[in-house]
Every structure is written in C-alpha cells, then in structure tokens.
C-alpha cells in the first residue's frame, strides 16, 4: 500500500467535529514561531507523537498550506522538505525506499538542519573530488 | 498480585461476595424487624393505617418551617449530598451498565459532566457535615464510632470514583479496582451499620403514620 507523497490518504469517514487536536497544535506552532523570532531558538514537533483522529493530520497540513520553497531529498528513500505558507514553519516528511512514510515533523526554524551540507559529507566530497581530478589527470597523461 | 489481577478480583469474586452479603444481610434484618410483630390493637380503628402511613412517609420528607429554622444546615446539606449521591449512583452511564448486567434493567443516563459536578458537590456537602458534627460540642457528644464509619463508607466510593474517572495519582486499573472495592466494602457493611436507614427509614415513617392513622389523627 503506497501513500502519496503530497498528503496521506485516510480511508475512514468521520464527522467534522473531531478536530480538537488541530487548534492546540497550531497554537503551539505560533508560540514556537514567536520564540524563534525573539530568541532564535528552533523547535521540532513529531507528528507521530500526537494522538490524531482520522483526517486530522490532513487538516493540519491543509491549515499550514504550502509556501515558496519545496526541496526533495534523496537519501535512503525520498524526503520532502517544504516551507509552509508561514515563513519559518517547515514540514518535513521522510519516506523509505518503498515510499512509505517513516516520519513527519514540523520544524520551526530558519533552515532545517537536514538541508545543510554536513561536514562529514563535505570532507568525503573533497576527497572524492581530489580522487576524480587525479583520475582525470592520469588519463590525460596516459592518453 | 498485579493491578489487573486486583481489578479482575474485585470485578469477579469480590463483587460476588459483596453482593451476596448485602442482599442476604438486608433481607434478614428487614424480616427480623417485621417479625417482631405488635400486639393486636383492641381499640376500634378510627382511620386507615395504610393511608396514614403513606401520608407520613411524604410529610416527614418535607420539613416544616420551625424545624427548618432550627436545623437549616443539616437539612440542606443532607438533601444535597443524598440527592447527589443517589443520582451519581443510579444515573452514571457505566453504573447503569452494571445494573443492567445484574438485574437486566436499564434506563437513560445523565450526561457525564453533570454526574461529575454532582459527585464534587456531594463530597463537599459530606465534608461540611462531618466538620460540623466534629466541631459542634453537642453533636460530638452524640457521635458514635458507627456514625463515623457510616460517613466514611459513604464518602470513600465518591472520592475513589472521582479519582478513577479523572485518573488521579495511581495507574488507572488500580484506581478503578479501589473504587469498586470501596463500593464492595460499603455493600458488605451496609446491613450492619446505620446505612440500613436507606430501607428502615420508610418502614419507620410508615409505622409512625400508621399509629396515628389508626387513631384517626394527623401524625
């Protein structure tokens, strides 16, 4: 069973009244955003840790909407990083290689860590680049 | 014993024991009272015993003005806690399920928040009653250990029920088990304490009224 990358599908129809988790969460996000503005402190909410009624996650995602930026990461399966319509509020969805969701987080930050290049990867990259140049150089000399 | 075993015990064998002692105890005590009998009244009846008895059951439940002025506190707090207690026992949805299971009868429940409020009000009323009984010199003199026991047996299920519903302090199965156990202790001791008044009250009132009714006077 595959879930769509954009928004999860729920198969159970329930009345609209069950949305009491949405508002408090949005309030929490607002408080986090204020904290980010005032002190620069970023925060993360794990959507899996919140008891959500069927359809509530979708409502949260709809309420946050989509902003200007969307990035896709290809590491152990896809990850989608979008800035919501509220600047500073990011939605990060991790998928595995079968496109099943393995984690969904709301990050309130200037820039999610996972988007930044990691120093270990940069050291590795520099090495690989040097090796590649060596290989090319060798080829030129030999050819 | 794990908390679930504790819960299973109070829902099973514990409930069984308590129910049997309660039913047997109440029936024996009532029969004992009824079979005391009375000497045949040789005087000619000037009115109906039954009517007089029934009338008094009603009239004694309604205070007259003078009595009210004398002991307004007792009457008001007494009515509050009795009403709250009875409504929360008989009109809380999970309780009705229990009655349905045992007696096969069921009736509509009150909304849970209403029961919640009633329980709190009853607890407060019971606390003020005991505070007054202990602070008033005359009442303290009249109090017997049996009175304190009856009070304790009554307030414990209310408090434990409130805690079980709001899940305060202990693991939920333990709270529920303690609540059920407190009710079972109440049931076991009920026939042998002043709590028997729940049944004897009406018998006593009827009898008072019946004597007057026979004589053709108001009680």
């Amino acid at each position: 069973m595959k879930q769509s990358i954009v928004s999860p599908q729920f198969n159970i129809q329930v009345e609209n009244v069950m949305t009491w988790n949405v508002k408090p969460l949005l309030h929490e996000i607002r408080h986090s955003l204020n904290r980010l503005i005032e002190t620069g402190e970023s925060s993360v909410i794990d959507l899996r840790s919140i008891p959500l009624a069927p359809g509530e996650e979708e409502k949260i995602l709809t309420a946050l909407g989509r902003g200007e930026l969307r990035a896709e990461l290809d590491a152990l399966g896809k990850s989608e990083i979008i800035e919501t319509q509220y600047a500073g509020v990011w939605l990060i969805s991790h998928y595995n290689e079968n496109e099943e969701i393995i984690g969904r987080f709301i990050e309130v930050t200037v820039m999610p860590d996972i988007l930044c290049s990691q120093s270990a990867d940069m050291i590795d990259a520099s090495q690989r680049l040097a090796e590649a140049l060596q290989d090319t150089g060798g080829n030129n000399e030999g050819g | 014993m794990s908390e679930i075993e504790f819960l299973d015990w109070v829902r099973g064998p514990g409930f069984q024991i308590a129910a049997v002692i309660f039913v047997a105890g109440v029936i024996i005590r009532i029969l004992e009272i009824l079979m005391l009998g009375r000497k045949k009244n040789l005087a000619e009846a000037r009115g109906s015993e039954m009517l007089g008895g029934l009338r008094t059951i009603v009239t004694r439940s309604m205070h007259d003005k003078a009595t009210f002025q004398r002991s307004a506190f007792t009457i008001v707090s007494g009515y509050i806690f009795h009403t709250g207690l009875l409504l929360s026992i008989f009109f809380f949805a999970p309780h009705i399920l229990m009655f349905k299971e045992v007696f096969g009868l069921s009736w509509p429940s009150l909304p849970t928040p209403v029961i919640d409020a009633l329980a709190v009000i009853s607890i407060i009323a019971l606390l003020t009653i005991i505070a007054r009984r202990m602070s008033n010199k005359v009442m303290r003199f009249l109090n017997t250990p049996g009175d304190y026991l009856a009070w304790l047996l009554t307030i414990t299920p209310l408090v434990t029920g409130y805690m079980a519903f709001h899940r305060i302090g202990l693991p939920a199965p333990t709270l529920l088990a303690i609540h059920i156990l407190s009710v079972e202790i109440l049931l076991v001791l009920f026939p042998f304490t002043k709590l028997m008044h729940a049944f004897t009250l009406f018998m006593a009132r009827w009898y008072n009224g019946a004597i007057s009714g026979y004589r053709g006077v108001a009680s």
């Binding site: 069973m1 159970i12 009345e15 069950m18 009491w20 794990d46 840790s49 919140i50 008891p51 009624a53 069927p54 990461l73 590491a75 152990l76 990850s79 990060i92 595995n96 290689e97 079968n98 099943e100 393995i102 984690g103 860590d113 996972i114 990691q118 990867d121 | 794990s2 679930i4 819960l7 299973d8 829902r11 099973g12 409930f15 069984q16 129910a19 049997v20 039913v23 024996i28 005590r29 009532i30 029969l31 004992e32 079979m35 005391l36 009998g37 949805a93 999970p94 399920l97 229990m98 045992v102 096969g104 429940s109 909304p111 849970t112 928040p113 899940r167 693991p171 939920a172 199965p173 529920l176």
Partner: protein, 368 residues
C-alpha cells in the same frame, strides 16, 4: 548467521558500517530522526541518538520461541518501514531464531551454543511465548524443555527482552485454568535485566523501537512497574484516544452499528479496555500509522496487560461484574428469607417464653 560474517563485522561500529555502505551523513541524520520517532523520543534527542548510534557495536541476538503462536515474529517481520529497520537488523547478528533461521536440527542448536560461548555476557536474549511448568514435555525444542533452554540461554545474556504478552506475563497459555502451568520469563529469571514488550502481538515499531533503544544506548530504557518501557507504555490507550472527548461527555456507541458507532463515539459500553490498558496504539498506530482497533470501530481488548484473557469477556464493559452475580443474588435472597423467618421465629419464641415466665411483683414481696 555465519561465523565468518560475525567476526568480520564484530568490531565495527554502526557508524562505520553505514559509512562503508556509502551512506551519507545527511542520510544518517534522516535515519536518526526516524529512529527517534520510532523510539517515541522527542526530536530534541536526535543529536544524542546520532552520537550513540555512531558508536553502537553489533550485538549478537538469540531469539527463543516457547508456547507462542509466532504472531510476534509475524508482527516484527511484517513491519514495512524496510529501510530503517533493515539498517538496524542488518546490524544485529541474529544467531538463533527457529522460525527465521536457515539452519535446522543439530546445526541450529550448534549455532545457539556457539553464539552463547562466543558472546558470553554480551548477547541479547529475546523470548516470545510462555514457559510451561506443569510438565516439561508440554513444549520442547530439540528435546530440551522450554524451562531448561531458557535458564541455560539466559545465563550469559546481557539482558532479556520478553516480546509479547505470553513471554511478558504468561498471556493466553496462562489464561484460566492455565492447563500447562504457564509462567512468564520474569517469573523464572530474577538475576538479569528484563524488558517486557507486551501486546498480542506488540506493535512492530514498538518491538524494533525497544531493540533500537538497547542497541543505541546499550542500556535498558526507563521501565514502568511491570517492566514495560515508559516511552511506549507510559500512557493508557484511553488517555491518548481520539475518542476520549466522547467518553468525557458520556456519548457512547451502544451497538456496533447504531448512530453513535457511525459518529465515532466512545466504545466503552461495547467493552473497551482502553481505560485500563497501557500501550502506544493510539499514537503509533498499526500498519505504518494507518489505524488502530478503536479507529476501526472495535473496542480495545487490553492485550498488553497481564491476564487480559480473563477479564470477563472482550465485550463486557469495565464497570460490569465478570461473574454471574444475578444467580447468586437470587440464591442468597432465598436463603436469607428462610434465615430471616427463622431468626424472627426464634425472637418470637424468646418473647413468648419471657412473657410466660413473667411474674408480677406483689406488695408482700417487697415487704419481705
């Protein structure tokens, strides 16, 4: 499962293994975020998890199955988040698991003994199923009784994880009248740290989450008073149930197909054990977060609690007595009526006897 592979990877840390496989730091961070979520830890723990996983060493795991239905193994192997779990499970060395291993017969037992000797004091022992104490012949593996195999294998274990309610609390074999004299792992082993991961079966990510926690930090997670990891079993189903507000308002489904059931009201009256059951179903959910029994409209059975099979029936509300009270009440009433009459008659006899022996005091008596 081979000795060669064992020694080749034994000294590498998880970080080294991942780097060798060409997994970038960024991928590793994603892996750590998903792992934190899986272990029900706050996202703020991700750096600590990353640091610990980096240094985690490959543990040897021996899995013993006793009186069980293999549902727990099914649950674990049906966990679909392949990437993350496979990273973890590629990393552990599952040296013995009689459902999953390729070896059979003496070779299988030899693998277990070899692993025990090689990793004495360090391997992780996982058990599913309860242990029959009534007769050792009720359940044996390779001619060895479950009890003997457990005691022998537990000796060199660093810790024991009891997976499933049977291993944790006796479960279904232990249900009344417990014909095999089934006991839990904790009933037998007293000198080793034990983690109980109950459930029938446990949620897949709860099993992997607990394993991951042990692998990551090399120590037991915080446990509750009956040995369950607080991260998953710290809150009751009821406390995290999205139908809870209906319970609080007193709105209940009366049957499985009435208006209340269709509106998603509380299932208390249909026998839901959510109020007395501690598990992660309401948040972690099943089938990759798709749903859980209450969301599907069925009351919670309470499968992660001891003796869940003996609670008087899955469809009996928690406030109902579990035994047949009515019948006994009728007997009690009949008996009491007879007793009451007897007592009354006795009282009457006493009274008339007193009347009969009553003597009037005369004036001359007083003048004596």
């Amino acid at each position: 499962m081979s000795d060669r592979k064992n020694t080749a990877q034994a000294d590498l840390t998880l970080g080294e293994v991942l780097r060798k496989r060409g997994i970038s730091r960024r991928s590793f961070l994603k892996f750590c975020a998903a792992t934190a979520s899986m272990m029900a830890m706050p996202p703020s723990m991700v750096p600590a998890i990353a640091a610990a996983l980096e240094k985690a060493r490959r543990p040897s795991v021996i899995w013993l199955s006793f009186q069980e239905c293999t549902g727990c193994t099914e649950s674990l192997t049906r966990s679909h988040s392949t990437t993350i779990e496979s990273l973890i499970f590629d990393h552990i060395s599952l040296d013995y698991h009689h459902t999953l291993q390729a070896a059979a017969g003496t070779h299988a037992e030899a693998a277990r003994i070899a692993s025990m000797e090689e990793n004495f004091g360090k391997y992780l022992l996982i058990v599913d199923g309860s242990i029959p104490m009534g007769n050792p012949g009720y359940s044996t593996i390779a001619g060895v009784s479950n009890h003997d195999m457990l005691m022998e294998t537990a000796k060199g274990a660093a810790a024991v994880i009891a997976v499933g309610t049977c291993a944790a609390y006796g479960g279904i074999p232990h249900a009344d009248p417990n014909p095999t004299g089934a006991v839990s792992v904790g009933d037998l082993i007293k000198d080793k740290p034990i983690i109980n991961v109950p459930g029938c079966p446990p949620i897949p990510v709860v099993i992997t989450g607990v394993l991951t926690h042990f692998l990551t930090f090399g120590e037991l997670p915080e446990l509750d008073h009956i040995g369950r990891p607080m991260a998953f079993y710290g809150k009751s189903i009821h406390d995290r149930c999205y139908r809870r507000p209906f319970y609080d308002k007193g709105l209940f489904a009366e049957t499985f197909d009435d208006e209340g059931a269709k509106k998603g009201w509380c299932l208390y009256k249909l026998g839901c054990k959510g109020p007395t059951t501690y598990n992660a179903c309401a948040t972690t959910k099943w089938n990759d977060g798709t749903s859980f029994p209450i969301e599907a409209g069925h009351p919670c059975l309470g499968c992660s609690e001891p003796d869940f099979w003996d609670g008087g029936g899955f469809y009996k509300a928690l406030s109902m007595p579990t035994e047949n009270i009515t019948q006994n009440i009728i007997y009690a009433a009949a008996g009491a009526a007879a007793a009451g009459v007897a007592v009354g008659a006795l009282n009457r006899a006493k009274k008339s006897k007193a009347q009969a022996t009553h003597q009037k005091v005369k004036l001359e008596d007083l003048n004596k």
